[in-house]
Amino acid sequence: MISIRNLCYRYNKKAPLVLDNISLEIGRGEFVAIIGQNGAGKTTLLKQLNGLLKPTSGSVTINGLDTATTRTSVLARHIGFLFQNPDHQIFCSTVYDEIRFGLTNTGCRPEQADERIRRISGLLGLDGILTRNPFTLSKGERQRVALASVLALETDILVLDEPTTGQDYRECVEIMEIVKDLNRQGKTIIMVSHDMEVVVDYCKRTIVLHNGRVLEDDDTGIVLRKSESLGLAGLEPPQIIQLALRFGPLFRDVTSPEDMARAIISCTVTGGARV
């Protein structure tokens, strides 16, 4: 579905490599987190996926389309992209028009567009504010409007650049639950996040980028236990895994509070206690 081969990229001829020989395969229905320090190349890698940036060498193929020769507006039918800052894209005078913009661009029929907007806005809790002007909304709401306008395109692949920044905890969980649902329906999700708790709770696979190279690429539970690699990339394992690491090898599969409870119970049982 997404195939990246020996991708190198630099912003101009004199600049150093921002992406250094990256090869990745991401299959249909995966839920991938890309983590790393600021400046590690995360956003640059994401922008390669929908052709906003073209490879200096190597290749990126999305659903069989080579991004080097395909325009971003064509790739937009395959890959939805949510930017960090919602204010970079919002320009319409109503939330409804804003969500509709991408649909018109990709040639969606009016009745179909209408139906999609209603469904998506219901999903994101925007149905009450469809006629409001997006500029009068709070930052969290604007972020959800931007997300809605991307989701409305119903692309197979969703690329999210820090979708939970500026959201409070409840909004963050709401957004991630929607994304999780979409993933369950078969959509491929690739997201950049600085929030390790979000990564461990939702993403199945994690890629650690450091200085433009792939440092780790494996199941989230495995990657987030590699304290050395994470330390090199300036990251820390989420609290639940830090705790599990201290408890020792019996807790090596723990990635959530439920796992933790189960592991503690089984330990105490094997230790002779009755539960």
Binding site: L52, R77, F81, F83, H88, F101
Partner: protein
Amino acid sequence: MKQMLEYVHGNSVIHRLNPLTKLLFAIAACVACFVSSSHLFLLGMLLLTVVIAGAGGVLGRAAGVYKALFILGFFLMLFQLLFTPQGRVYFYILPGVPVTDDGLHFSTLLMLRMMAALSPLSLMLMLTPMNELLTAMTHSLKVPYRYAFAVVTALRFIPAFSQEMDQIMQAQRSRGHETDTRNPFKKVRVVIPMCIPLLISSVRKVETMAISLETRGFCTGPRSYRKKLGFTLFDLLAIILIMAVLSLSVIIG
């Protein structure tokens, strides 16, 4: 645009000149170019700016400026050439549209004048740190700080805005918006989704900036200056050169 106005860090003779000297040069060069109507003088001025760019180590960057000015100047020249029917006719480019010797004379003059008058200004901005310019304007020229600050901030924000514009274009292209079209009627429709976010975010940015300035005591009392700007021998030499150029423009006419 971004490259034409952005400061290039360095420590050349030109960099170390008093900002006032450079400002004077930019203004004097502009005046001289409008006073003189000699091709040779304007060409000489242009050459002088090339020398200054070389001395300041920004020749590569300046080449971009010359290119942009040349393209602009070329179109100006073309119009001037086609709409000057006076003088001896060389030939007819279209029926009723002659190319004349007067046309050729004035159009090339216009183009040279534009290039020679504007490039010193862009060079001055490339070779002077903004805060030094600000200090020079308020401390030496006694421009009220409020106004000097506004001018300098406007210049300083141009690179930020152009970066912002890049981000906005990328965001809209990701939503299937075609940003490149040659059809002039479609162009308006293409531009709206990019201009509005830029406008809104700049207003937001300015608002935030105004508040943050006030919380840090903007314009509440007499200011102190970290750097003293003195005049050196080089400044004196530069000013003599500027005066010579100005006098020459008047003499040649």
